[in-house]
């Protein structure tokens, strides 16, 4: 039988692996996690450069931007579209779901690998294929898709399309290939998600009850469930959009009885849960880190999980708040406005609980904790500004203005960037066996935080003044050319540049620490969860002897425990 079928061979730490089967077509969840994360970081950098490019165009219209040249409307739209696409589907998803999940789930539930290692490898290589298709889509005649990341038809169904050109020629256009790439990416994450859920349900260490499962794994699995149940309509809608492009069908063409609004519903039924798909793992990371560095239990852990479950469900019935002004039925809009405001309740609870976790602790602000604090503070800003957009009556005015841009950058950057960085600095010792440099890490944090606020906060005000999105040159709009708004554009651009530049520190830090950082023991942070029982880096097969679990993950400073202030899950 093939070698991967044989659990004994697969899991024995000593069996010989060829270079290919160890690093390229690896079945080991840790290597697959690294593959996903590195791919994600590379694409995040590309997307970030796109953002810097069009921010420079906004601040200094008509300037000759390095590597891109002078932008026109088409190129600008293309950069905006693909910035969002890359950041969501090729940076946030692989890092927050696939990379994080693949690394922590088997380690934290004390098992040797994923339930279906082959499926896991397949998932990564499908994802890689999707990334290749994405890059191809930039090189097509007429350039990449320039329809906004929401791909609203009829524009997206007709751009760069010649109805008489035939299937192949229309398939090899930016828009079609982008849709194809997104569909492939969904397939990859779906396979990975099945793997996560089965692993968590079936392969937990002996004695680990559901409430002993660390919150981060709850969050990742909830995110996966949301993804699995919401992605279907968009896959259907994307196929229909692709057919509109290559087969000249009329699903979204009003002249033929099709309906553009249909696509918006298909898109946002996925598109809104998608936000929670990346948000929940970020919250999970933070709720791992805060107990570790405050040395006290997570406040109301059980209720945090319950609230997360309820928010994951409510997230499925708020999608149309992205369409308040899209001409949907006003009565439905009122319903969706109410559900949207309701969803603030579970997240208010979780934020309060995280804050309450600080009180009476022994807080040690190491780099991961610093990033976690950044997450909590800045996500607070993003969270409260969500109310403005959730209220239909006000969204009539704010929709598609820079207020929305500022809002979702204040949510997504803390979630994906700060949360992800917290996780990176927290689990880097486990995955490489070496500590990261504290000083560089803190510098990285402060520069990024400065960049974020310089970039996003002023945009609230220009947005409130009615500055609308996706305009590549405001020269035509006299009310938008007053001095203070121009200054805001400059500030935002400088902030974006600072964020991009600050990441060089991260690269230096990773390379330095991975090669010559100080050795990390098994448990550098004195944490409870099971991954710290394994060696760092964990060998192939993770644990010498399968650990068994005796208590919840956050038993810090438990008076019953004499001696140390932490009580690993696997100790009697």
């Amino acid at each position: 039988m093939p070698w991967w079928r044989n659990k004994e061979i697969r899991m024995s730490a000593h069996h010989e692996q060829s270079f290919l089967s160890k690093y390229v077509f690896s079945l080991d969840h840790k290597y697959i996690a690294k593959q996903y994360t590195i791919t994600g970081i590379v694409f995040a950098f590309i997307g970030g450069l796109f953002a810097v490019a069009f921010r420079m165009q906004l601040a200094w219209p008509g300037m000759n931007i390095p590597l891109v040249g002078v932008l026109d409307g088409m190129k600008y739209n293309m950069l905006v579209t693909n910035h969002a696409m890359i950041m969501f589907f090729w940076a946030a998803m692989p890092i927050m779901i696939a990379g994080l999940g693949n690394f922590v789930i088997p380690l934290m539930i004390g098992t040797d690998d994923m339930a279906f290692p082959l499926l896991n490898m397949l998932s990564y290589w499908i994802f890689f294929l999707s990334a290749v298709v994405l890059v191809l889509s930039f090189l097509m005649p007429g350039g990449g898709a320039a329809t906004g990341w929401t791909m609203y038809p009829p524009l997206s169904a007709t751009q760069n399309i010649d109805p008489d050109a035939g299937l192949i020629k229309n398939l090899f256009t930016g828009g079609s290939l982008l849709i194809l790439a997104v569909a492939l990416e969904f397939a990859a994450i779906l396979l990975g998600g099945i793997n996560f859920l089965v692993t968590t349900i079936n392969m937990r260490a002996k004695g680990m009850k559901l409430m002993d499962v660390p919150v981060v794994i709850w969050m990742i699995d909830l995110a996966t469930v949301d993804f699995m149940f919401s992605v279907g309509p968009l896959v259907a809608g994307a196929v229909m959009l692709l057919f509109d492009r290559i087969f000249n069908t009329g699903f979204y063409d009003p002249a033929r009885g099709g309906d553009p609004i249909l696509f918006q519903h298909l898109f946002w039924f996925f598109g809104h849960p998608e936000v929670y798909v990346v948000l929940l793992p970020g919250l999970g990371i933070v709720s791992e880190i805060i107990p570790t560095f405050t040395r006290k239990p997570l406040f109301a852990q059980r209720w945090i999980i319950i609230m997360a479950v309820s928010s994951a469900f409510i997230a499925m019935i708020v999608w149309a708040h992205h369409q308040f002004v899209a001409g949907i039925d006003p009565r439905m809009a009122e319903f969706f406005s109410i559900t949207t405001i309701i969803i603030s309740i579970p997240f208010a609870f979780i934020m309060f609980a995280l804050v309450a976790s600080f009180f009476g602790g022994q807080i040690e602000i190491k780099t991961p904790m610093l990033w976690a604090l950044g997450f909590v503070v800045f996500f607070l800003v993003g969270g409260v500004t969500g109310i403005y957009n959730g209220s239909a009556g006000l969204d009539m005015y704010l929709h598609d203005t820079y207020f929305v841009v500022a809002h979702f950058h204040y949510t997504l950057i803390p979630i994906v960037f700060f949360g992800g960085m917290a996780g990176l600095y927290y689990w880097f010792p486990k995955s490489t066996g070496r500590m990261m440099n504290e000083g560089l890490g803190k510098l990285h944090f402060w520069l990024t935080a400065l960049g974020l606020n310089l970039f996003a906060f002023p945009l609230f005000f220009s947005g409130l003044n009615g500055e609308h999105r996706r305009i590549f040159d405001y020269a035509a709009y006299q009310p938008m050319m007053v001095d203070w708004i121009i200054n805001i554009r400059h500030m935002a651009t400088i902030g974006a540049i600072i964020i991009a530049a600050a990441q060089l520190i991260l690269f230096i830090n990773i390379i330095m620490s991975a090669s010559s950082g100080e050795k990390a023991g098994k448990n550098p942070w004195k944490a409870n969860t099971l991954e710290w029982v394994a060696d760092s880096p964990p060998p192939h097969g993770n644990f010498a002897t399968p650990p068994s679990c005796y208590r919840g993950p956050y038993e810090y400073s438990n008076p019953k425990r004499s001696g140390s202030d932490f009580w690993p899950q696997n100790e009697q």
């Binding site: 409307g73 006290k296 009556g393």
Partner: protein, 234 residues
């Protein structure tokens, strides 16, 4: 000073009130949470030989500190919901819209706005409608103080009819006619923009709304019907 632009329509002040309500509530809550966070952070930093308290937050004595604020948050949400429903239904729900004094059809096109006024018969959606497109004196002219029904539609892709000072926007969608209403409260010349990405020249798709007195408006309509404004072919 208000963060929102000057109000030119009867609904804009209502939207401004809604904004102020949400602004106050969210700012207060955000500040309270942040203050609590930093207080908790700085009062419980690591001390030599200190020991953290073992607080699980499972029993009421501890968890009331977040349950009670949560209930208050729910009340605030309810407040916002009520106010939102009021503003929203006033602007959007057709059955609650006031009677219109004048009808104008607005067609979004790549990349300009076309305004269709009723012809001599004074009714819209008839043969003799007069179409005024961008280019030749193509501004949207409406009378001050009158309820004007805007019938929004598109000829090609999605656009979005957005006048900042009116306080609302609405996508214009091919295949549908969406009716909104506006009652201008003062005369002036304000900007009309497209707020939904509609192609490469989306950035240049703009026009003006000219709010004029009733007399001027009547004159304008007379010119239209006498054909002094060039008709634009379909």
């Amino acid at each position: 000073m208000s963060l929102l632009p000057e109000a030119y329509s009867s609904v804009a002040p209502e939207i401004g009130e809604l904004f102020n309500l949400i602004f106050v509530l969210t700012t207060v809550w955000g500040l309270i949470t942040a203050a609590a966070l930093f207080y908790g952070l700085f009062t419980s930093l690591k001390k030599q030989g200190g020991k953290a308290k073992y607080i699980t937050g499972e029993d009421w004595a501890q968890s009331k500190f977040i349950w009670i604020p949560l209930v208050l948050v729910v009340l605030c949400d309810f407040w916002i919901d009520v106010k939102t429903a009021h503003v929203w239904s006033m602007v959007e729900i057709v059955s609650e819209q006031p009677q219109g004094d004048y009808d104008i059809k607005i067609v979004g096109r790549q990349f300009y706005w076309e305004f269709v006024y009723p012809g001599p018969d004074g009714k819209l959606f008839t043969e003799d409608d007069v179409s005024v497109a961008d280019g030749n004196d193509g501004e949207l002219v409406i009378p001050v103080g009158k309820v004007v029904k805007l019938h929004l539609t598109s000829a090609d892709v999605l656009h979005s009819f957005f006048v900042r000072q009116f306080g609302f926007k609405n996508d214009v969608i091919p295949g549908r006619i969406i009716t909104r209403w506006v009652q201008a409260t003062k005369e002036g010349r304000i900007e009309l923009t497209c707020a939904e990405i509609c192609g490469p020249n989306h950035g240049t798709m703009r026009n003006w709304v000219k709010i004029v007195s009733q007399e001027e408006f009547d004159k304008f309509v007379k010119n239209l019907n006498s054909g002094e404004v060039a008709m634009v072919a379909q």
